[in-house]
Symmetry: C2
Subunit: 442 residues, 2 copies
């Protein structure tokens, strides 16, 4: 009679088309419960399996104990084991990455060097849910909410539908021991916080939390896969000899367009981030230029999005206009009208944009100057108890190509107004205001 | 200078196209912080606002205190208030629904009776995140992960981008008091568990949890909206005079097809559930019949999916075949071959299905009978310490149209084998087994 757990692992492998018996599978064996279970399962299911252990030498004697355990286990099973010794600390210093990231990178480099058909990692359904919650807490998209993918390239995760409890029960039933990483039991890391403090609370709301999540993840993955394939297809259709078909991209639904943009950014070797996607998206929907990387500009013109090297001369001009009183002032291609009113104590139900354009006239020190943004300028906005970086405020509210023409007002003591963000606390209108300086920007 | 909070509410209304100033907005006023804030904001932003309070008379004096508070607040603002008195207990008894559901239903009935253009509820970003987590814990799809929709029909939620903290700060700044529902501060309800025990842990992982979630929800909603619109479009295309174009549905991606099926189920007045969607999905991809509701069958034939009333005569036949020894037995349109082997003490690496089809010959009491499922039958499967319902096991592993031909084996003491689920504990092979009864089902 085949063990229920083995049946579950076998059907996960089948469901996600993970591997066939002619392939050589490499198990990443740490010696912990998950990877020991993975090795045993694949071995018992009759796969052509080999193992690999990476000694990170990060935990002194414990690291060597783990290596020894793996060696004994593989010897007992007659499974080939390759042991790597990694200098994580040195690697991380050299490449300026975190310990966790460095260890991960080194591991995968080793795995690749073995040349197995598939690399098998022991991520469980518990890991998958924890990752989904972690991503939700940090901010994510659909892909992140799906947790850990069952298959990614040649990496497969046959335990992705088994919970940590099921894994422990399986080992107990077999009388198979395993090693425990002492850092796993503490709450030092965010993952452990989710594992020990969040998941148990959710399990109190639903006793079959993991079963439910498994179905949820399946549904979300199906949606995500569909959208990803739509995005890739749209990207491929949009590729032109020297750029991308913006008209074609413009017709797509935002969901698909954003995913196509991710492929464009990747192809151009640019950072894929919320902001970079937004910047390109705005260009596609409109026209213009955006600085996407030092010296690289995305340009959308005549229905073609392209990436060019060069300077945005026109926009990077530093402008400065002195305001000598009421009237209309020209600022680049924009017009600003200033007026001075007596203040009757009430500003109620005025239009939002207009309301932002009123300052207490008597609190202004010296003359007003209209400028575009400069490096290093700060403003303390109304009702804030901290200074904001003017450049960041402008970046937040303006498209890349418009940022250098955003209107900044300064008096002799510094910035008093930033277009899109509003006035400084020190010139705000209050119960003692007598005259107001009102202005509208066109 | 317009308050930051008001600006945020105004831009949420604008972003989601919630309302314009010519519409009459009804605020559902409980007297709590959220709804008081909502009323104040809409009033100050210059909307045509009226209010409505439902006294559920569920919390004695506290209920009356809340009503009185709302009356005074509206009087102060000069806002029209309509008070309803709801007999929730009676309503719930009559309609057999939970208190929470009954109260909600009654509230919306009252709201509709007022005939405002839009109904405004005070759900916040905090509520939205809590709902997303609640749905994640209970099992959900993409729509559920998005939490609470900013707009649903004529219901709008202008505070959906404001956190509970921001709401409380706004009221504090105004010196505006509010009432507190004593049941909200306890951990009696699941929602409060998420609010007080889960969300604070996540906020420890990301100090701008709500800002991140707001962006996450935006992205997920965009994806969800796109998929929903694709599903609706596919449904509309598939509608035929007497059914649905199964060939057309079959070509869709699972993500879109499942959503189209939800529309089909809704149109046919059938329950929309994971199982009902699965059942119709299988029919579309294959052919056959499925009982979708007492007396209603979904039939897929010649490329058309249709819903008919009637009986599934052929499949509902009760069949029973006596097994008198080795040989091949006919069971409906299926064949079962029985063999008896001596047992050498090892069953290793046998095929999963085959392994399931071995019983300890000597533990079988009396003769074996092959039957299809009957009501009320139980089996204690191998390694389980509880009895399973045979009907449920069959439902779990078989499509609707195949369930009545699933093979059940019985001896004189009851069920010993259920196809798809395996053998009973009492006939399992162990170290004392001498002969095995092996069988294969074709």
């Amino acid at each position: 009679m085949m063990n229920n757990f083995l049946v579950k692992v076998a059907s996960t492998i089948e469901k996600f088309n993970m591997a066939n018996k002619s392939e050589r599978l490499l198990v990443c064996l740490s010696g912990g419960a998950d990877s020991v279970t993975l090795l045993l399962c694949l071995y018992e299911l009759g796969y052509d399996v080999c193992a690999c252990h990476v000694n990170h030498h990060l935990r002194g004697e414990e690291s060597d104990r783990d290596q020894h355990f793996c060696e004994k286990l593989c010897e007992k099973l007659g499974v080939e084991l390759k042991v790597f010794h990694a200098d994580v600390v040195g690697y991380c210093k050299e490449h300026s990455v975190s310990t966790e990231e460095g260890a991960r990178k080194l591991r995968y480099d080793f795995f690749d060097s073995i040349g197995a058909d598939k690399i098998c990692t022991a991520h469980s359904l518990s890991d998958c849910l924890e990752t989904a919650i972690f991503n939700l807490a940090r901010g994510t998209g659909l892909k992140g909410i799906c947790g850990i993918p069952p298959v990614r390239g040649n990496i497969i995760r046959p335990l992705i539908n088994c919970t940590r409890q099921e894994i422990e029960d399986f080992l107990k039933e077999r009388g198979q021991d395993f090693v425990t990483d002492s850092t796993n039991l503490t709450d030092d890391y965010t993952r452990n916080k989710i594992r020990h403090l969040v998941v148990p609370r959710l399990a109190e709301l639903n006793s079959s939390l993991f079963g439910s999540y498994s179905m949820t993840a399946d549904r979300l993955r199906t949606d995500s896969d569909y959208l990803e394939s739509q995005g890739l297809e749209a990207f491929e259709k949009a590729v032109l000899p020297k750029g991308y078909d913006a008209l074609c991209l413009r017709q797509l639904h935002e969901s698909v367009r954003r995913r196509a943009i991710m492929h464009i950014l990747e192809k151009e070797g640019l950072t894929v981030s919320h902001d970079s996607i937004e910047d390109i998206d705005r260009l596609i929907l409109d026209v213009g230029k955006a600085n996407v990387k030092g010296g690289v500009f995305a340009v959308c013109s005549k229905g073609v999005l392209s990436f060019v090297k060069g300077e945005m001369l026109e926009n990077s001009t530093i402008r400065s206009v002195n305001v000598s009183g009421e009237g209309v002032y020209q600022f680049g291609n924009r017009e600003i009208e200033f007026k001075i009113y007596p203040f009757d104590g009430k500003i109620a139900n005025v239009h939002k944009k207009f309301a932002n354009c009123c300052l207490d006239y008597d609190k202004i020190k010296g003359e007003i100057v209209v400028e575009n943004r400069r490096e290093g300028e700060k403003i303390r906005l109304v009702n804030r108890d901290f200074d904001s970086d003017v450049r960041k405020l402008v970046n937040k509210y303006f498209r890349l190509e418009d940022r250098s023409s955003a209107v900044i007002l300064k008096d002799s003591q510094g910035v008093v107004f930033v277009e899109g963000s509003g006035a400084a606390e020190r010139v705000k209108i209050d119960s003692e205001t007598v005259k107001i300086l009102a202005f509208t920007i066109k």
